[in-house]
Symmetry: C2
């Protein structure tokens, strides 16, 4: 090994990290578009994700890297990654094996909040 591996500087220069050095990663099922979860990446998590094709995040609660599915078997095989216009969010498209959520549901977004006034949707 020739030294430390780093995220492509051209990509790193486009990231707008928060105070903890993280960007948000929105994860969706690549073919249906279903939004599965939101996780966090630092430069190294993004480098690993892009170079291995396995979704890798930074766990804010555990303070460590986390390859999705490594312990649960609910792997995420990455098909594409897109950065947003201001560099603080990624859209990660994956083939999700099994449920994305640790609670056992397909998606983490299951807690519907009441919208008092539903916006006037123009057909």
């Amino acid at each position: 090994m020739s030294g430390t591996e780093q995220l492509d500087p051209a990509i790193a220069a486009r990231l707008k990290r928060d105070r903890d050095g993280l960007v948000a990663a929105v994860v969706r099922q690549h073919d249906t578009g279903e939004v599965l979860m939101l996780a966090w990446m630092d430069d190294e998590a993004l480098r690993r994700t892009l170079s291995t094709g396995r979704a890798t995040y930074w766990s804010r609660s555990r303070g460590q890297y986390w390859v999705k599915g490594e312990t649960s078997g609910h792997h995420q095989y990455v098909t594409s990654v897109a950065l947003d216009c201001d560099g603080d969010a990624l859209l990660v498209s994956v083939e999700q094996v099994g449920p994305a959520c640790h609670t056992g549901t397909r998606t983490c977004f299951t807690d519907e909040l009441p919208v008092a006034v539903v916006g006037e949707v123009k057909a």
Copy 2:
């Protein structure tokens, strides 16, 4: 007016805010499921969103509330809002009028990053 309006305490108790008091809001087009953008909400932005049906965010760069479309005309009429399992992210479904992105594109996620090894998608 009877006093300060507040986010429903039962909802507020489920939010896991970052150090700036914010949660991430993933925004998608309600019918196609297309992921449009990522923005940020504090308790008050969420309260306004739920009570008015108009997507309202906290602008981290400008340090102020921001009703999407107020200046651009690219309104977001909210059809549903869901909280994720650990309370740090919202999925906001909207009817997006015009482009969601300030650059004029429909979605903010237009900058594709190279995935060196595309995950083995099992058909």
